[in-house]
């Protein structure tokens, strides 16, 4: 939201320029050149430690790199790594997992985030308390949240304890150890983790609506539900667009809950595409293969980033 790729409009520049256009604009251009230097340290740092690694990743993906040849010269193998990835059935399963995972995280994250925002958009002590709880959960390290959920969903965890005590189940449900449950369990926990952030962003948009609008609606006898449908949802639509992309990216990048709760297992049941690359490189020590998977993930992210830039720009135009 803070990010807007459109350059500053000239009209924003202060009144100093008026009437002394020629001198001021030369002065301005000179200042700009100096201001550009402020970007230089970060630019150099990012070129070395963020952009160069991406090139190195590309090189790795077309080479035969194992842990023993990591620091030798790499044998060029062309698209072999990509081919062996695409040929393996696990890869297809991983892509499907990614789609299901991102889908669940996105839908629940957006719907839950909006619902929480609506619930928390009225002021009050109780509301403020729940809001601070949500922000606190967001601030906690994912590894802490993941650990708790691993425990809560475990065979002696809260859910299974309740199920067994009340007689709803006779055996503990293997939420994280069963092929068919594990992916949904981890995705649900990830959605749980992203809702606080989405709720805060939605809430900021809802708080931007003038109180008079709601008062007028109430005069006309609108119910809260009608307010939500006819006032809140249209207002938050541009926000939703931005959050949609952000949540998709969040779900796609997410690895901490997977790492902590299942480490991609059982089998590859909870392995998403970015996690597969990690496992190939750091568990199976095939860096070339892992790099190839990572390159596929990076390409997908670039596509998403283009969508993001577009939706942000659209929102800027509207606001």
């Amino acid at each position: 939201m803070a990010i807007d790729p459109t350059p500053t409009h000239p009209s924003r520049h202060g009144s100093v320029r008026v009437g002394r256009r020629g001198a001021a604009s030369r002065f301005h251009r000179l200042a700009q050149r100096k201001q550009l230097l402020f970007v230089a340290p970060a630019a150099v740092f990012l070129v070395v430690f963020a952009i160069f690694p991406v090139f190195q990743l590309l090189r790795m993906s077309v080479s035969d790199v194992t842990v023993s040849t990591l620091n030798d010269t790499w044998r060029f193998t062309g698209l072999e790594n990509f081919q062996s990835n695409f040929a393996s059935p696990a890869f297809g399963e991983t892509v499907l997992n990614t789609v299901i995972f991102v889908g669940i995280v996105t839908v629940l994250g957006l719907v839950g985030g909006l619902a929480a925002a609506v619930l928390l958009s009225k002021s009050g002590r109780w509301t403020g308390f729940v809001l601070s709880l949500l922000v606190f959960i967001w601030a906690l390290p994912p590894v802490v949240n993941g650990s708790v959920w691993k425990f809560l969903l475990g065979s002696s965890g809260l859910f299974n304890s309740i199920g067994l005590e009340t007689g709803l189940t006779t055996q503990p449900i293997p939420f994280l150890f069963d092929d068919s449950y594990a992916l949904y369990s981890v995705a649900l926990v990830n959605a749980w983790a992203v809702i606080p952030f989405n709720a805060l962003v939605f809430r900021a948009a809802i708080m931007g609506i003038s109180q008079e609008v709601f008062e007028a609606a109430r005069m006309d006898g609108a119910t809260r539900w009608e307010e939500i449908r006819h006032i809140i949802i249209p207002v938050v639509r541009p926000t939703t667009l931005v959050l949609l992309v952000l949540t998709v990216v969040y779900g796609f990048r997410s690895f901490d809950f997977i790492y902590v709760m299942t480490f991609g297992g059982p089998g590859v049941a909870t392995t998403t595409l970015p996690f597969l690359g990690y496992v190939q490189a750091f568990v199976r020590f095939d860096f070339g293969l892992g790099a190839a998977t990572a390159v596929v993930a990076v390409v997908m992210v670039i596509v998403l980033a283009i969508f993001y830039a577009r939706s942000v720009r659209r929102e800027e135009v509207h606001s």
Partner: protein, 293 residues
């Protein structure tokens, strides 16, 4: 959109009048739903604390879910282990180092990108968005190789650099709107008074943008505190792990000692809680400023 957000979030809402009261009477669904929301987020927190106070045998029996004799054994065990202090120290060094280095790079860059209008700026911002979105699991693969070559593996510097590279794009994008909110006229006036670009930046821009700096700094510290993938892979021995990496390593092990683990989780969270208490307002508002997590 950027700074309007902050203003609206700060504005006191709903004049506590008749309309507000009517609304409360009219929505009997909202209160129970709010309670549900509270439970969904409160129970996991409560559970961390409860479990950390149990003995291992109480954890396994489902009868003692709520009724058990609390014990501080897990904490005394954890605190008696000197490895914990090393991990805590590592967490502090890495999170603080990352925060300082990130701010040093991101504050001037955010300022520069807020003030210079050229095609270069647009390209730069686009690249920052892409960098910020790259999966960390992809970054770790080439970084491991590069750090091995540059002798940065198994050093705090390596992890700090990697965390900084991960978080700088986010920090710049977060800082930029704070600088953009400052009227250019203010700066130009300072320059007409004879202050150079650098001096204007330090004596005019930095003080005005201090809220943004505090927000960004807090967020970077939080994110660096929780980061574990780089730590787990770049430190060659668990002896150097920060708390988050220690927790990640123990939770994925077999035969987990749950009370011990939850005690570790609580210990990992206490500094975050302290920080949270002091920066809640900043966080609540900073988060909505295009924070991506």
């Amino acid at each position: 959109m950027s700074n309007a957000d902050v203003d609206t979030a700060r504005k006191p809402t709903a004049p506590r009048g008749f309309a507000a009261m009517r609304a409360r009477v009219k929505s009997p669904v909202a209160t129970p739903l709010r309670a549900v929301l509270f439970l969904i987020y409160g129970i996991p927190l409560l559970w961390i604390v409860l479990t950390s106070l149990k003995s291992p045998s109480d954890v396994i029996s489902s009868q003692s879910s709520f009724v058990f004799r609390p014990t501080l054994d897990a904490y005394t065990d954890a605190l008696g282990n000197s490895g914990l202090y090393t991990a805590l120290q590592q967490s502090l060094v890495i999170a603080t180092g990352t925060m300082v280095l990130t701010l040093l790079l991101a504050i001037p860059a955010g300022y520069g990108l807020a003030r210079v209008d050229s095609r270069l700026t647009t390209v730069g911002l686009g690249m920052l968005i892409v960098l910020q979105m790259l999966p960390q699991t992809s970054n770790v693969i080439p970084l491991y190789q590069i750090f091995a070559q540059w002798n940065l593996l198994d050093t705090n510097a390596g992890v700090i650099i990697a965390d900084t590279a991960l978080l700088v794009p986010f920090a710049i994008l977060l800082m930029r709107p704070f600088f953009r909110a400052v009227p250019v006229a203010l700066e130009e006036a300072a320059k007409l008074d004879g202050a150079g670009t650098v001096r204007t930046f330090f004596s005019i821009m930095l003080p005005i943008a201090r809220n943004g700096i505090a927000t960004t700094g807090t967020l970077i510290f939080l994110l660096a505190w929780g980061e574990f993938l780089y730590s787990v892979n770049f430190f060659l021995t668990p002896g150097n792990y920060p708390l988050s990496a220690l927790l990640a390593q123990q939770v994925s092990a077999f035969g987990i000692d749950w009370p011990g683990l939850m005690a570790l989780a609580v210990i990992t969270s206490v500094p975050i809680m302290l920080l949270f208490v002091f920066t809640y307002r900043l966080l609540r508002e900073g988060l909505t400023l295009g924070a991506v997590k």
